[in-house]
């Protein structure tokens, strides 16, 4: 989807850095200089291994970071309003303009409150509806997210329903006030494949209805299924970004390529090359390229200089010092 350049994006994160302070230890840099844009009606997938800072990014946008976390740089704009600079705007936006769907639906729901009441609470508090009205709306919403027999289900407690149903409840809660931005942090990771598919379909319907979706996952298959746009994250920073189809078909960055090669694919079954090594210690990050310790193409320069995210072709960018050589090799 193309937008006129003048239009303000729904969500615009610029140069975001988040660190965690630790007692008697160097602060942990969880996110560094991260930029990301999400537009209405589009799904941006944030893709990266576990520990790469995806959840921290999501929590920063929602203003849900833990007490020991601090955003040290950057801005987060929702429809142009800077949420980091204006905590009141952040509070006002939560639930109403932006909402979040969490990974573990069991722990995300209040264990001692009926699920119907947890949805109805949105209407009661934000719109001042009566108990009965809010209940009716909650049941309507449950029907909308394809929960069978919603009248009965509404009276259940979270532990009494299946993981798939619970995640639908969490989604219903998130979309209750039709927020323009929806952030989903690995919403299907805890679910089995068939249930996963239903939830992904639901998200697709929501974006088609005009919501902007930031979808976080470490699963390339899921990303391929839902993404319009992909942001590849590694060790707290963006490595590569571009339209989903192109990034997945022709990855530029060595990390993206390694990531894609690390999962089995239908066209080459069994050929699975895990990336050697692990994420750098977030308290002791490489001075140069963050991926250098694991990169097969790393040179001395890579360990000294931190590459910037640079535009390669319209809509695509990568942070790699040797990107032209990589592309050259790829072309052959």
């Amino acid at each position: 989807m193309t937008m006129p350049a003048s239009e303000t994006p729904l969500l615009e994160i610029q140069g975001l850095s988040v660190e965690f302070r630790a007692r008697r230890a160097a602060p942990v840099q969880a996110v560094q200089d991260l930029s990301l844009t999400a537009r209405a009606g589009e799904c941006v997938v944030v893709l990266g291994e576990s520990g790469s800072g995806k959840s921290v990014t999501a929590k920063a946008v929602m203003g849900l970071l833990e007490g020991n976390a601090r955003t040290t740089a950057g801005s987060i704009r929702l429809d142009g309003a800077d949420l980091l600079a204006d905590p009141a705007a952040m509070r006002a936006a939560r639930g109403r303009d932006m909402a979040m769907v969490f990974q573990d639906s069991l722990s995300a729901l209040n264990p001692v409150q009926r699920v119907g009441d947890q949805i109805a609470e949105m209407f009661r508090v934000h719109q001042g509806l009566s108990k009965a009205e809010a209940r009716t709306r909650a049941i309507e919403l449950m029907r909308q997210v394809a929960i069978p027999d919603p009248e009965r289900r509404a009276r259940s407690y979270p532990h009494q329903i299946s993981g798939g149903m619970r995640q639908r409840i969490v989604i219903a809660m998130a979309i209750a006030l039709k927020p323009r931005l929806l952030i989903a942090d690995e919403p299907t990771t805890a679910l089995d494949v068939t249930v996963q598919k239903g939830i992904l379909d639901l998200f697709r319907v929501l974006t088609e209805a005009g919501a902007g979706l930031v979808f976080i996952t470490h699963d390339i298959g899921v990303a391929a299924e839902i993404a319009d746009h992909i942001v590849v994250m590694y060790a707290g920073s963006v490595m590569e970004t571009g339209p989903a189809r192109e990034v997945l078909a022709r990855p530029h960055h060595p990390y993206t390529r390694a990531l894609l090669a690390s999962v089995p694919r239908i066209e080459r079954p069994g050929a699975r090359t895990p990336i050697p090594g692990g994420l750098p210690d977030p308290a002791d990050r490489p001075a140069g390229c963050l991926f250098a310790p694991r990169c097969p193409l790393a040179t001395a320069d890579c360990t000294a200089t931190r590459p910037e995210l640079e535009s390669l072709e319209p809509g695509r960018a990568a942070a790699c010092l040797r990107i032209t050589e990589v592309q050259h090799v790829l072309a052959q």
Binding site: R94, L109, P111, M122, Y157
Partner: protein, 309 residues
């Protein structure tokens, strides 16, 4: 829910049987002869009177048989008589209201002071209030109860003269406040600590994060989401503690010279007055079990995960 309660009642009944038997065993298997103790070891009693007493209290039967006869009486509301012929039920009826007043006053203090203190500390985690509450509770745990009791007596009873030093002559509340504070201080400290820890833990739970993400105001997040969940362990503790408080407090009733159940047990043990000790102890076990039953029910009401298991 009905099945759940029924199960708990059955469990409580079997525990009651086991516990009363144990008490019976311990008291009547005590070394020493109760008839001898009654007469101070002097042979002032004629052989026929002694035989009658032995007959009356089944002292020559085997222990299990004694127990069965005792339980038989208990089921008919007969707690027996002590060795001087006073019905145990009369002793209980006389001392129970005193103990109940003392225990309930202490219990009220635990709730009215302990819970708000814990909430306050929990909401101000890591701030001076939190540390002050922590320090106060550690002090309450560290100082032996009789030291607290005597200190309170000297300070508030003798030096300041705010409360009577001992006895129950001035009635409730004047005579009961000081002993109730001393009696409840441990429970109060435990309640505050439990409440604080439970609230802090709950506040970092995922569903609290969800409530904030839903845009719920802070007040609602705390009251509607955090509080009910964090009250579960506190209520459990309180209900169990109530069983203990209503069972009389041997030390406190001794220090403040309060003629309650604890006082009677103490006297009963001193005089090897088996029927009194067994009678009151059995009652205490039953109270304790009833309190536990109440806990289970409250627990089920507060936490649906347990209710439906």
């Amino acid at each position: 829910m009905t099945r759940y309660i029924l199960l708990r009642v059955l469990l409580a009944l079997s525990v009651a049987l086991g516990a009363t038997f144990l008490i019976f065993l311990v008291v009547f298997a005590l070394p020493g002869d109760p008839i001898q103790a009654l007469t101070g070891g002097q042979h002032v009693m004629s052989a026929s009177v002694e035989a009658a007493l032995r007959e009356r209290y089944h002292l020559d039967d085997s222990l299990p048989l004694q127990y069965l006869k005792y339980m038989g009486g208990l089921l008919q509301g007969d707690l027996g008589e002590d060795f001087t012929g006073r019905p145990v039920s009369a002793i209980i009826a006389e001392s129970w209201p005193t103990t109940a007043k003392l225990g309930l006053t202490a219990f009220a203090l635990e709730i009215v002071v302990g819970i708000p203190l814990g909430l306050w500390a929990g909401l101000r985690k890591g701030r001076p209030v939190d540390y002050a509450v922590l320090g106060g509770t550690i002090l309450a745990f560290a100082v032996p109860i009789f030291v607290i009791g005597y200190t309170a007596q000297i300070l508030f009873g003798i030096n300041l003269g705010w409360f009577p030093v001992a006895g129950t002559e001035e009635g409730w509340p004047t005579s009961y406040i000081l002993p109730a504070v001393v009696l409840g201080i441990l429970g109060l400290a435990t309640t505050a600590r439990l409440m604080r820890t439970s609230l802090v833990e709950t506040l970092s739970a995922d569903f609290i994060r969800t409530a904030i993400a839903k845009g719920m105001p802070r007040r609602r997040v705390i009251v509607n989401h955090a509080m009910r969940n964090s009250l579960i362990p506190v209520v459990t503790y309180l209900a169990i503690d109530l069983g203990g408080l209503l069972g009389g407090a041997v030390i406190i009733e001794g220090i403040f010279n309060i003629p309650g159940l604890g006082f009677q047990i103490f006297e009963g043990i001193k005089q090897q007055n088996g029927p009194v000790v067994v009678g009151i102890s059995t009652l205490l076990v039953l109270i304790f079990l009833a309190a536990n039953l109440v806990v289970d029910v409250i627990y089920g009401v507060l936490d649906p995960r347990i209710r439906y298991e």
